[in-house]
Point group: C2
Chain length 294, copies 2
């Protein structure tokens, strides 16, 4: 089973930021990434519809005999995780909400945590609930920031438009008052598209705000889970906090036995390759992407 | 048949700008508006998928025994119109591309016409082809402006962000050169979302550029088509250019016999009502929107 691939699912290309984080830590693992590009975005759809779509995608990835399933989509994680875990019993399923919420609770001193996400994720309340479960006294300010999705897909990560949009969303959260006490001290990027805009977001949030990137925290959770279950391929661990030296060694070793990545998309292969490359941090060719029907 | 409703279809809420233009001209007509909100946006999907979705929606509206079918979505018009016209033989089908292209050819002195639209519409080349068919010597500059869709849906129609995005898209078209001769003199808003941002777009395009709003031109085409076919309900014509006085009279008359509007959506009724109201220019209540499955 340790030789099996890791399945990663997102509504589109945003989850490639999670795949990028996973590849950085687990360069010797095989991955199957499924983007449900025919039906994106999930963020504006009803919970019932998103749960149905996410389950179909999870079942499609299960057919690739994955050893672990990562729901690299905040909206799908927030409404689809319970039903996916119920139906896909054979493999562990990791969402992006829990790892992000846990990291935020650990990072925050004051207990006042801000979350920006898609409309669907914010309305679903999954981050709010997860944070309050982990830290009952926490105060959570959650706001939708849907324009960041379009900006990330257009490659407008920095510059005046990204800056203006970041200020538009973050000023009501961080700039409303002069009192530092009433401002959140931690900001969760609750959408897998948002790490692309991290620099603009960081600038608009201001100094002293800790940014929690749920792509990075999810990758850590997967590494830990596979390690604990003894399901890592031998010598595949890449860089991971607290183990830099051994990480460097294993990256060097694993570059000889680098894993494979299969990309599946439900529509628009050309667009997936073109825009996905920006998210993954390396070019994706059209030939690498297979069209599938869900 | 003249008592039958007019069917209007869009991938989401953008087509409500076309419905608004139709209601202004035909206040006594009944309308059935279908927004395929479960599968929006069409602009990023492949032509095959969009054509399939558009045909399903057209068939759903046909079941409401409409007397005319308006494809109020540029992407669906550009790739779906031929197959819809082939399959739905019983009623006339009006798209948004032809009316916009015709109005642009009439408005342009120089023959250099710019089109901004979604990625799918630009790549499909329908506006370019329609303009060149009507005016073979024309020069067409077509560019995708997808962020306008998100801005329109978020209600950011004016202000610094809308201005910055408008300049981002329009400066390469209108500001690239000092020579007025090489600039287009006409700009087609080739997406039904874009009329919401007309003020910001007009400012960024600069003086002397004629703006063609394909929602308004499509409504004119529908009025002319129904008039020619003798299919208008009696006394339903509202304001229409060149007939202001009689229009005022008929609007007054028709306010007594105002038509009905049915809204159908494939998902997210709450969001449809909330955001759609901005596009339609009047509030839509959740109770007015029916959920249907395609």
């Amino acid at each position: 089973l340790s030789e099996a691939p890791i399945g990663v699912f997102d509504s589109g290309m945003g989850g490639l930021t999670v795949l990028k984080a996973l590849l950085g830590r687990l360069p010797g693992e095989d991955f199957v990434y499924l983007g449900d590009t025919a039906r994106l975005p999930y963020g504006t759809k009803s919970p019932e519809t998103v749960a149905r779509y996410a389950l179909q995608a999870a079942e499609a990835l299960e057919a690739y005999r994955v050893k672990c399933l990562v729901i690299a989509c905040n909206t799908a994680s927030s409404v689809g995780l319970p039903i996916i875990r119920e139906r896909i019993e054979s493999v562990p399923v990791v969402g992006v909400i829990e790892p992000g919420a846990r990291a935020a609770c650990e990072a925050s001193s004051s207990g006042h945590i801000a979350v920006i996400a898609t409309e669907g994720t914010v309305r679903g309340g999954a981050y709010q609930q997860a944070i309050l479960r982990l830290r009952p006294g926490a105060r959570v300010t959650a706001l939708p920031a849907p324009l960041f999705v379009s900006l990330a897909e257009e490659g407008l990560h920095t510059g005046s438009i990204a800056g203006a949009v970041a200020r538009h969303y973050l000023r009501p959260i961080f700039g409303a008052t002069d009192s530092a006490e009433s401002r959140p001290d931690t900001l969760v990027l609750g959408c897998t598209h948002f790490p692309m805009l991290a620099a603009s977001i960081r600038r608009a949030a201001g100094r002293g705000v800790r940014i929690v990137d749920s792509a990075a925290t999810t990758a850590e959770t997967v590494v830990r889970g596979l390690t604990d279950a003894g399901l890592l391929r031998t010598g595949t661990t890449g860089s991971s906090s607290g183990a830099r030296k051994s990480a460097r060694k294993s990256v060097r070793k694993s570059s000889r036995t680098r894993g494979t990545v299969r990309f599946l998309a439900t529509d628009g292969i050309e667009r997936f390759a073109r825009i996905g490359g920006g998210f993954l941090g390396r070019a994706i060719t059209r030939g690498e992407v297979e069209l599938i029907d869900l």
